[in-house]
């Protein structure tokens, strides 16, 4: 087994996997609650620009079906988040999400904010996500029937999600280098991005104009953005680097929101869900409160 595979398939904490389940399913539920899908439903087929499997459809799904998918998707995502029948509810939530979020990407442009949530959920679809911090685990303990699990099954889904997030930043930066080269930083490219976005709005964006009016600042922002993106995978080899890259990425998304009103909150939430060691946070909070460390399902049957 190669070094990469040894890292990927190393044992993991079932609580860490559960935290990723809870976090990503919660983000998915919130994304599916939006009224944009009903607005898109019944769109005139003349304006339909499908992506991927959406090309199998003649147009946006009808309103009734969309509402049913939303109800089913949100319910399944909430149930998966709390860990009830997650082997069924998580794939159901993902399926509903894939179709609904696919609608939002079928206007001619991919909605990347949603893609990262769906992509990070894929490794969880076949994983034992409900063996800790879940209703299923609580019911199993009550029945004195702890599920037989091995730590090796809980590591790879979380690490695969980490690879997806790190890869998303890396490929975003790589695309800039491949398509534009160093000119993405060295020319007035960033100034033009910000000016064009501000000029397209009824009210000029003062943050965008503040940066764009100062060439040195625009070049610095462009350089920092590209550097963060292409080097983000360092966190996979040096976990401590996450203390730099996670806040840096949050700062990047906050800046994008302030300067361009582009809302990437789902991407930020996914980043935090996947890269923060939530069991360690819970243990620390628990020890401060004077509580004993939370029970975990034993690695082998008693």
């Amino acid at each position: 087994m190669s070094r990469v595979e040894r890292w990927l398939f190393a044992p993991g904490d079932p609580r860490r996997l559960a935290a990723v389940r809870i976090g990503l399913c919660s983000v998915l539920a919130l994304r599916l609650l939006r009224d944009v899908y009903v607005e898109l439903a019944g769109q005139d087929p003349a304006l339909f620009r499908p992506v991927s499997f959406m090309r199998l459809l003649p147009g946006m799904p009808p309103r009734g079906l969309v509402m049913a998918l939303q109800v089913a998707g949100v319910a399944a995502a909430v149930l998966a988040a709390v860990g009830l029948r997650s082997r069924l509810t998580l794939p159901l939530a993902w399926g509903c999400g894939a179709l609904l979020l696919g609608m939002a990407s079928s206007l001619g442009k991919v909605a990347h904010n949603d893609v990262i949530v769906l992509a990070c959920l894929i490794p969880l679809l076949a994983a034992p996500v409900g063996e800790a911090w879940s209703v299923d685990a609580a019911l199993a303990r009550r029945a004195r029937n702890p599920s037989l699990h091995t730590p090796a099954r809980h590591g790879w889904p979380v690490r695969t999600a980490m690879v997806v997030v790190a890869g998303a930043y890396f490929f975003t930066g790589l695309a800039k280098l491949v398509l534009s080269g160093p000119a993405w930083v060295l020319t007035d490219n960033m100034r033009f991005i910000l000016y064009a976005d501000s000029d397209a709005r009824a009210v000029p964006n003062e943050v965008a104009l503040f940066i764009a009016d100062r060439p040195w600042l625009a070049h610095a922002v462009a350089a920092a953005t590209l550097l963060l993106e292409v080097t983000f995978p360092l966190v996979l080899w040096r976990p401590r680097a996450a203390w730099l890259y996670v806040p840096g990425a949050i700062l990047l998304h906050a800046g994008i929101f302030l300067a361009m009103r582009l809302d990437y909150w789902a991407w930020v939430a996914t980043l935090l869900v996947v890269f923060v060691d939530w069991p360690a946070v819970a243990d620390r909070l628990g020890s401060r409160a004077g509580r004993p460390a939370p029970l975990t399902i034993p690695a082998s049957p008693p």
């Binding site: 991927s52 990347h112 893609v115 992509a119 695309a175 534009s180 100034r191 000016y195 064009a196 000029p204």
Partner: protein, 142 residues
């Protein structure tokens, strides 16, 4: 799961859009001092025009710029259908609309005058949409 990671990496390396896998192209193209936008102007019976911001009407119309940029490659019936759809959308916000003009707008981002470009934008009519469909550029609505 190996297959998923391989597919994810391949899509990222070769810029493939296989939703939900994607090439992650976000602001990757180089921008220049001249930019192009698409604007829709609703015209009433008196000939008065007012800009239509479709994104505020409904998410279903957010792809205006992307569809309009490929207008020339659409067939006649496809153009007529797109036009009628946009006209219908504009009428939900402004019931008295008799025609909808779709303009390609070229903007010189520099130099600036305050918060806006110093030079006025240059407009080229892509099409005018009426109840009968898409009129060619330069044709006046009946």
């Amino acid at each position: 799961m190996r297959a998923f990671l391989v597919a994810f990496v391949v899509a990222g390396l070769f810029n493939l859009d296989l939703w939900p896998l994607t090439g992650w192209r976000l602001f990757s193209g180089l921008r220049h001092a001249e930019t192009m936008a698409v604007e829709a102007t609703a015209v009433d019976a008196a000939g008065h025009g007012s800009r239509v911001r479709f994104g505020r009407i409904s998410s279903a119309y957010r792809g205006l710029e992307l569809v309009a940029r490929s207008f020339g490659s659409l067939s006649g019936p496809e153009r007529d259908a797109a036009c009628r759809a946009w006209l219908q959308g504009a009428r939900t916000a402004q019931p008295g609309v008799v025609a909808l003009r779709i303009d390609e707008v070229r903007i010189r981002l520099l130099p600036r005058r305050g918060d806006r470009p110093a030079q006025p934008p240059q407009r080229t009519v892509v099409t005018t949409c009426t109840d009968s469909g898409a009129l060619p550029p330069g044709a006046l609505p009946p």
